[in-house]
């Protein structure tokens, strides 16, 4: 093979691989868009917590949101089919965003139901994925940790709206929960990355929630 032939051969291979890569990326993108639509529908339901947080209503909203989970599982299964299993991290940038939002939504449902933080295993179960890369499509630790960090903002806003519709107990619980969450995240050794930046926002939400409890106390809305 002379010089010219070798360059042609090399670039033929490069072009082929790039074209394959492009078409897989397109399939991934379409599947992720479908997931995002389902995630938005769940988010829509969960926004109702800002209107009313009585136990029966909360149960109803959580029930409605949970009805979407089988669709999510289906969507993730379809996403899995678009790329070779060994290339998970090659395309993972496409779905970080939607996975984190799904983690957040699951954690919000579980929090409103049980006032605890959903574990990574529980998230995996709800979404029909594994936590282990060896088992195929999985939820990464980073997506779990970043997804959970979307919860404080939502909860502190719910706390504000609780006061508006006169649920004075829930903000107390929210403040306590956020402070526990902050203490838990402090245990991690974070690098200067996206996770760290998201975590930096948490302390402001803790302060905000504590501020709401204080506002209620001094106006004697709570003992």
């Amino acid at each position: 093979m002379d010089a010219k032939e070798s360059v042609e051969a090399a670039f033929d291979q490069i072009k082929l691989e790039l074209d394959t890569f492009q078409s897989v990326k397109e399939q991934v993108r379409i599947a992720v868009e479908k997931l995002e639509a389902i995630s938005e529908a769940i988010f829509n339901r969960l926004q109702n917590f800002h209107e009313n947080t009585t136990p029966d209503y909360v149960k109803e909203i959580c029930g409605q949101a949970r009805k979407f989970l089988p669709k999510v599982k289906e969507g993730i299964f379809d996403l899995q089919k678009t790329f070779p299993p060994s290339d998970y991290y090659r395309y993972a940038d496409h779905w970080h965003h939607v996975m984190q939002h799904l983690v957040f939504q699951c954690s919000l449902i579980v929090y409103m139901e049980e006032e605890t933080l959903i574990t990574r295993d529980q998230v995996a179960q709800s979404l029909g994925v594994s936590t282990n890369k060896a088992d195929g499509f999985h939820i990464t630790l980073e997506d779990y940790l970043q997804g959970v960090l979307l919860l404080p903002g939502e909860l502190s806003r719910i706390a504000v709206n609780c006061v508006i519709h006169e649920d004075y107990q829930r903000p107390i619980q929210i403040a306590s929960f956020l402070s526990q969450l902050n203490a838990a995240y402090k245990v991690l050794n974070l690098k200067n990355d996206a996770l760290r930046r998201k975590y930096d926002g948490l302390k402001y939400e803790v302060k905000k929630a504590e501020g709401i409890v204080y506002d209620m106390k001094i106006r004697r809305l709570i003992p």
Partner: protein
């Protein structure tokens, strides 16, 4: 305070404590997992830096290939030894750290070293066999980086190669080695022609393509000057 109330208060406090401990325990596990991953990333970054340095030294060595025609084979042999050393000392360790599943997870850690190594090895094979190695060639010649190589990385490496060939060409003009210069010129020209065809396919390839174009223009100018110089010498001798 009624008895019921005090019991309720106490169990609430206990629940909270349990909740806190449970959460702390969970996150302690996450901390271990994150630390492990970050440590591995750091080890790979260090290995990648070693590969970059060693590859650059190999390239500097190869630039001396035209200095002494009698020593050409020696230079090539030593370059081959250097490349083998990088395989044995660094690439083998990188492969040991990652298995093929995690290849893309740690790509950002070892990618700089990979690009430099590809530059060195393609340069070596151009000088030795007057051809461009293909992706499949690389997998059999250098299986460790070969398997890690994506089409994008390889294309970027070829763009960098055109830069080194340009330097070789300019050096050759200093010693009047015109045949080498014209050969390099044709070679980069074909590379550029094909590169334009892939430059729109991924972000970053466009910039690399512009670099190839600049290198080609410099080489063509150097060949042009050489042609005129030789004509002058003929004319005035």
């Amino acid at each position: 305070m009624k008895l019921d109330e005090s019991v309720t208060l106490q169990s609430t406090v206990h629940d909270e404590q349990d909740g806190q401990n449970n959460l702390q325990h969970q996150f302690a596990e996450y901390q271990v997992e994150l630390d492990c991953k970050n440590d591995k990333h750091e080890r790979l970054v260090k290995l990648s830096r070693d590969i970059t340095i060693a590859s650059k030294r190999c390239i500097f060595l190869l630039h001396r290939v035209l200095d002494d025609p009698s020593k050409q084979q020696e230079v090539l042999d030593e370059a081959e030894r250097k490349l083998d050393q990088i395989q044995a000392n660094q690439w083998s360790k990188i492969i040991a750290e990652i298995n093929s599943d995690d290849m893309y997870l740690y790509a950002r850690a070892y990618w700089p070293g990979l690009e430099e190594y590809i530059e060195a090895i393609t340069y070596y094979y151009y000088l030795k066999e007057n051809r461009l190695v293909t992706l499949t060639d690389l997998v059999s010649i250098a299986p460790f980086p070969g398997r890690l190589l994506t089409a994008y990385d390889f294309a970027a490496g070829i763009a960098d190669l055109s830069g080194e060939l340009m330097r070789l060409c300019i050096n050759a003009s200093g010693s009047g080695e015109d045949s080498v210069m014209y050969r390099i010129c044709s070679f980069i020209r074909i590379i550029y022609k094909r590169f334009v065809g892939i430059s729109k396919k991924l972000k970053g390839l466009n910039k690399k393509c512009q670099q190839v174009e600049q290198n080609l223009i410099k080489v063509e100018k150097a060949c042009y000057d050489m042609k005129l110089r030789k004509a002058e010498i003929l004319h005035f001798s």
